[in-house]
Every structure is written in structure tokens, then in C-alpha cells.
């Protein structure tokens, strides 16, 4: 495995990555609102995220009595920060902001940070419904995290490296999705879960008046909503890098292939999750651990056996 499979961007790299993330996330939000508008028989809808942003930017921030301001702000801003940090190790074609040797572990660590951020946002508001929402997320996270970790293991084992660039390079002959379908599906489900999308919306559901977001307004709410779409976009990007061959494709430059695949996958996820009803928070644990975990372990076993055979022959 060559460590120089991808090239680190100079100083403007982080800015470019952030801008790309913002554009991709905005496209996801727009697609969501276009679908929503079409469903309810209206035209357009693509402008809705802009209108929502304008609305929230002119709205006054409110805070609850005896709120833990520091923790609340850390949690509220954290979702966007976590997604930005994830994208830092994501190879866009041949470019990456930071070519960490343990990029995959970095991604997973940022994902676990989301646990803390959602919970802190709920706890910091000192209010019942956000608090219940925060704990609901922990219940979901406990269920999805282990299957997610093992799903991440499969590409790493096959590539023999934790470096994102190596994992992409290892798919030159065959995309991992072809022989790791279970890991791919579990990973996509986990992406929906850590970005708080349906069916994993219980932490901010209608039955607890919006849960984590119940008391948020103005820029706080803006950050949380942006964070959700950024996390979903980052998740789609990692799905492309880990399973869909990264930037490989004919004719077009590889960064364009990568972004194209990411956007298409993001839109598919947005459309798919609109059709799934929400899970009750206590209902995920059993299927995730009794069905999902054994299946994904089996997947890792198969991948390991195939990889070892391939190396020895």
C-alpha cells in the first residue's frame, strides 16, 4: 500500500472542503423540500432552506432559565463541527485535507462525538423535553454504534489499512459494495442514525415537542439543522469513499466523480428516509444487536477470509 495515494491540499484546503460540504448539504435540504412540496401538490420548494435560514438568522435567540450555557452552546454548534472534522480526512478524488494514517478511526471518533453533542444540547437547556430527547439519542446511539463500527471494519480489513486513501485505492478492481453489501447497508442505516434522520428522529420528534430542538431558536436552531444535513452529507461522502470506489470512473476527473456519486447518494438517502416511519426509541436495540450485529460480523468474517486467501495465493 502506498502512503501517497492521495495528495494533501495546501492551506486553502479546509476552506474548500467546508464550502463543498455546505453546498452538498444545501443541495440535500433543497431536494428534501422539493420532494415535500411535490408531495403536498405545490410547485417549487427548492427555495425553502434559504427562507428557513433567513427566518432563523433574523430570529432572536432565547435561552431557558438556569440553562448551562456553555454545554448548550458546545452541543448546538458541535454537530456542524463534527461533520466538518469528518470531511477533513475524506479523499475527494485525489485530494484530501489531511491524509491521516488512521482516517477511518478518526471518522469513527467524530461519530462518537455526536453522541456527546446531541446529549449536551439536550442537557444544557435545562428543560424536560430536550433532556428526554438527548437521552433518546443515547439509546439509539448505543444500538447503532457497534454495528456501525463493524461495518467500518470490513473495508479496512479488505484494504489492509486505516488510511482513507488506501481504502479508496484498494477498490480499483472491484468496488467494495459488490462483495460487502451487508456492511454497506448497515453503514447507510448508521449514517441516517447519526444525522438524526428518519427513522431515527425520536430525539427531536413531535411527541416531545421537538425534543432536543424544542427550546432552540435563531442561530442555535440554524446550527442544529445545518449540522444534521452536514452529517448526512459527510456520511454519504464516506459511503462513496468506503464502498463505492471513491472518485473512480471513466472520462470525468475523479473529484467530479466523487462529488457526483456523493450528491446522488445523498439525494437517494433524503428521498428514502421520507418514506420510512419513525422508530420508537426503545425499538432499535433488539433488531440492531440481534439481527444487524451478527449479520455484519458474518460479513467481516467473509471479508477477512477472502482477503487472507487473496494475499496468500
Amino acid at each position: 500500500m502506498t502512503p501517497g495515494a492521495v495528495q494533501q491540499l495546501p492551506v486553502w484546503g479546509p476552506l474548500a472542503a467546508l464550502a463543498a460540504l455546505a453546498v452538498v448539504a444545501l443541495s440535500g435540504a433543497m431536494v428534501n423540500d422539493v420532494l415535500a412540496a411535490r408531495f403536498s401538490g405545490r410547485r417549487g420548494g427548492g427555495f425553502a432552506p434559504i427562507a428557513e435560514a433567513a427566518r432563523l438568522l433574523r430570529q432572536r435567540r432565547r435561552s431557558t432559565v438556569a440553562a448551562d450555557e456553555l454545554l448548550r452552546r458546545v452541543g448546538v454548534a458541535g454537530l456542524t463541527v463534527a461533520s466538518a472534522l469528518k470531511v477533513a480526512v475524506l479523499p475527494v478524488g485525489a485530494w484530501v485535507v489531511s491524509d491521516l494514517a488512521v482516517g477511518l478511526v478518526w471518522f469513527n471518533a467524530m461519530d462518537v462525538l455526536v453522541w456527546a453533542f446531541v446529549w449536551l444540547a439536550g442537557w444544557g437547556q435545562n428543560s424536560v423535553f430536550p433532556l428526554v430527547g438527548g437521552y433518546r439519542f443515547l439509546a439509539l446511539a448505543l444500538a447503532y454504534e457497534l454495528p456501525l463500527m463493524f461495518a467500518l471494519t470490513a473495508p479496512a480489513v479488505a484494504a489492509g489499512s486505516l488510511r482513507m486513501g488506501d481504502i479508496v485505492a484498494a477498490q480499483e478492481g472491484l468496488w467494495f459494495v459488490v462483495w460487502m453489501p451487508v456492511a454497506f447497508v448497515v453503514f447507510l442505516a448508521a449514517v441516517l442514525a447519526f444525522s438524526l434522520q428518519r427513522p431515527f428522529t425520536a430525539p427531536m420528534a413531535a411527541d416531545i415537542a421537538g425534543g432536543v430542538t424544542a427550546e432552540l431558536s435563531g442561530v442555535d436552531r440554524f446550527l442544529v439543522l445545518t449540522g444534521r444535513y452536514s452529517l448526512l452529507s459527510a456520511g454519504a461522502g464516506f459511503a462513496v469513499a468506503l464502498f463505492l470506489g471513491g472518485g473512480s470512473g471513466p472520462l470525468l476527473p475523479d473529484w467530479l466523480w466523487f462529488l457526483g456519486k456523493t450528491v446522488v447518494l445523498l439525494w437517494l438517502l433524503v428521498a428514502l428516509r421520507r418514506r420510512i416511519p419513525q422508530l420508537r426509541p426503545e425499538q432499535l436495540m433488539a433488531p440492531a444487536w440481534v439481527v444487524g450485529l451478527p449479520l455484519v460480523l458474518l460479513q467481516v468474517l467473509i471479508v477477512a477470509v477472502v482477503t487472507i486467501n487473496g494475499r496468500s495465493s
Binding site: A37, F39, S40, R42, G45, F47, A48, I50, A51, E52, A54, R55, L57, R58, Q59, R60, R61, R62, S63, T64, V65, A66, A67, E69, Q125, N126, S127, V128, F129, P130, V132, Y135, R136, R198, P199, T201, A202, A205, A206, D207, I208, A209, G210, T213, A214, E215, L216, S217, G218, R221, R274, R275, I276, P277, Q278, L279, R280, P281, E282, Q283
Partner: protein, 393 residues
């Protein structure tokens, strides 16, 4: 046209409206919900997310304080209106948009709001003692957190979306420390006999997807309701007045599809909820009843195939067998949803109203989300019933 005006113009294309249904407000609420969907607006889940507070129907005298509390929680720019009949909904919301667009006026109001809040505290000194306690605490919070929190008193109990919150937190007693004026939660034994915080949280009467006027005084341990008391803050009012030869039949269809869509929305099946709601709106517009029933039948077929939804609703809120006559004994939320849908399709009456007294026993020991689903799955008796006590052993 300054930047503020531009922002305001863009913002009002997507207003968030908190709909509070008062006495006899069902018709107005449906008209407002309809307008929201047509305009691409959003029904806010909490007042903290709303630009417009829309009160549908009449607010009884003793509820004005609760409505003021809701109003105080709107972050601003904000606007409020009362819709007293379905035909007034459009004009009322247009008026709100005009207010929201008045950038200078909103700035002035916000400045006044920030400035006058301490005085409001003084004014309410002749209120009950518990409220004074809260307000003193609020002032304290202000000193700590600076000007930004000067509007914090609107939130002083966090969970008061129901507007009834001043009764919610008073169990801390005077001798306990009260950060920010909020009494600490008391203690109680949980299901496993461990000491856990017990928090009193009223659900309702102004809560989205909730029977208008119902208040469920819950005692929470974590998110488990271990005791509850149900009462009506005010009655529901007469049935929807819908004219024409098939008036009552139509009213029944509208009412039942409203109940179905509410349960579906809470269960997180937004698509199906919107479809059933669309049928409701069509029926209100005077579409042929047969047409409506066909759409509902199609929805019923789709729902029966939806195993995720069945998993969410099956087995919760099962009413014990052999109750009083007319009670849908032995059914769970999933059965009741399908039965209600089938009854609507067949044009017969639903399983019948459930007495309020059943509720506390039904929700005891359940998680909050399940409690909401159970309440939404019941056609609760519209008559104001005396409060019923329910307590865990």
C-alpha cells in the same frame, strides 16, 4: 430596502405557526392547518420554534394566563392572532404576515419587551405565591447571564409548552435549593424500587397533536410516566357544523380522519398522515364522500402492509377486557387505528368515546412517546369529566 427588510421578505415565505386549539376550535384549526400546507409553511412543534401564535376557537377566561405564557415563549419577531371560524383563517394569517414584515415595528416591540420584563414581574406580585417564587428566581438568572437572558422568564419552566407549567414544578418546596427559581425534582421509587427524581410535567392543554383542552398531569421518572391525572381544562365544544344533507356523515368522516392523521403524525408516519389529512381537507371542501372513503380505504390497505408502523403501534395502550359497556376492550393502538379507519370507510361510527378515567391507568409505567401514542389512539370523551386520580402502587 435594507438587509433586514430583505431577510423579512424571504423569511415570511416560510412562517412557523404554533396552533393552539381552544374551545370549539377544531374547524378553525383544520382550516389553519390546511393553509399552512398550501403555503408551504410549517406547523411549529413548540412555541420556541414559532413566528406566529395562532389561537383557534375561544380561550376561556381562566386560560388567558396560559396563553400569555405561550406568547412569551415565541422568540420574536412574532405575531399572534385568534381565528374564530374556518372562514377567517386566511385573513388572520395574512395580518400576521404583515406584522412580521413590519421590521421597524418588530424592532420596537422587541426593545420594549426586553425593557419591560422586570416590571411584568412586579405586576404579578399579587398572583399566587408559587409564581412569585419563580419570578424572583428569574431575576437572579438575569444578573448571572447578562442582557441576553433578560427574556428568559418566558421559559422559566422549560417544559411548559402546555402553558400550565406554573403548577408543574412547585413540589420542590421552599426549603430546597432552587437554581434559577425552579424547584428541584422530588424523589420517588421507580419500577425497580430505586430512588429516582420525580418530575411533575403537565401535558396539554395546548400541545400539537393533542386533544384540545385535555391536561394530563404526569409524574415523570426519566421519561417514564409513573403516575398521571387527567382532566379537561375546558370542553371541546360542539361538533363541527357542516351543512348539507349529508352534514353529520361528513362531519363524522372529517373528525375521524382528523384523529387518524393525528395518530399517524405522532407515530412518525408523516407521508400517510399527510395523505389522510388531505382526504379530511377534501371532505371539508365538499368532495364526494364516496371518493373520500375510497382514498381512506387505499390508505388502510397501505397501512396494513407497513410493518414498521405496526411494530410501533402494536401492543401499546391495550384496554383491559370486560370494561364498561361501549369501551373498546381488548384493543391496542394498532387495532384502534385500523378499526377507526375501517369505520370511517364503512361510514359507521367509530368504536365510541373512551371515558377519561381510563387514561391514568392506561399510561402508567409507559415511556413518553408511548403515552402520546396511546392518548392519540383514543377518542376521548368530549364531555368535561371530573379529574381522576391514578397512582402507582
Amino acid at each position: 430596502m435594507g438587509l433586514r427588510n430583505v431577510l423579512a421578505r424571504i423569511a415570511v415565505t416560510r412562517c412557523h405557526v404554533f396552533v393552539a386549539e381552544g374551545y370549539a376550535g377544531a374547524g378553525s384549526r383544520m382550516a389553519v392547518e390546511r393553509l399552512l400546507a398550501d403555503n408551504g409553511w410549517v406547523q411549529a412543534l413548540s412555541p420556541g420554534d414559532a413566528d406566529i401564535l395562532c389561537i383557534c376557537g375561544e380561550v376561556p377566561e381562566d386560560q388567558t394566563d396560559a396563553v400569555e405564557r405561550l406568547w412569551d415563549q415565541l422568540p420574536g419577531p412574532r405575531s399572534r392572532t385568534v381565528v374564530t371560524g374556518p372562514e377567517h383563517a386566511g385573513r388572520a394569517l395574512d395580518g400576521c404576515v404583515a406584522e412580521l414584515l413590519d421590521v421597524d415595528g418588530q424592532m420596537r416591540l422587541e426593545a420594549e419587551r426586553t425593557a419591560t420584563e422586570p416590571k411584568e414581574d412586579d405586576k404579578q406580585d399579587d398572583g399566587d405565591s408559587r409564581m412569585n417564587m419563580d419570578h424572583e428566581g428569574m431575576d437572579h438568572g438575569k444578573k448571572d447571564d447578562g442582557a441576553e437572558d433578560s427574556h428568559a422568564d418566558m421559559d422559566h419552566e422549560g417544559m411548559d409548552h402546555g402553558g400550565m407549567s406554573h403548577e408543574g414544578m412547585d413540589h420542590g418546596g421552599m426549603e430546597m435549593p432552587m437554581p434559577g427559581g425552579i424547584g428541584l425534582a422530588g424523589e420517588g421509587k421507580d419500577r425497580d424500587g430505586l430512588d429516582l427524581d420525580a418530575l411533575k410535567v403537565p401535558l396539554g392543554p395546548y400541545l400539537p397533536f393533542w386533544p384540545a383542552g385535555l391536561v394530563l398531569h404526569c409524574e415523570l421518572q426519566g421519561d417514564i410516566v409513573f403516575a398521571a391525572r387527567a382532566e379537561y381544562a375546558f370542553g371541546r365544544g360542539e361538533e363541527l357544523p357542516i351543512g348539507g344533507p349529508s352534514g353529520t356523515e361528513r362531519a363524522a368522516l372529517v373528525r375521524q380522519s382528523d384523529l387518524v392523521s393525528r395518530l399517524l403524525a405522532l407515530a412518525g408516519a408523516a407521508r400517510e398522515a399527510a395523505k389522510v389529512r388531505g382526504v379530511r381537507d377534501a371532505a371539508l371542501d365538499g368532495a364526494a364522500l364516496d371518493e373520500c372513503r375510497r382514498s381512506l380505504a387505499a390508505s388502510g390497505t397501505r397501512l396494513r402492509r407497513n410493518w414498521l408502523l405496526r411494530r410501533t403501534l402494536q401492543g401499546i395502550g391495550r384496554i383491559p377486557q370486560g370494561g364498561a359497556a361501549g369501551e373498546p376492550g381488548g384493543t391496542d393502538a394498532w387495532d384502534r387505528l385500523l378499526a377507526l379507519l375501517d369505520a370511517t370507510v364503512a361510514g359507521t361510527a367509530g368504536a365510541g368515546a373512551v371515558p377519561l378515567g381510563l387514561l391514568p391507568d392506561l399510561v402508567r409505567g409507559l415511556e413518553l412517546s408511548v403515552v402520546r401514542l396511546v392518548v392519540a389512539s383514543l377518542d376521548l370523551s368530549p364531555q368535561p369529566a371530573p379529574a381522576v386520580e391514578g397512582r402507582a402502587r
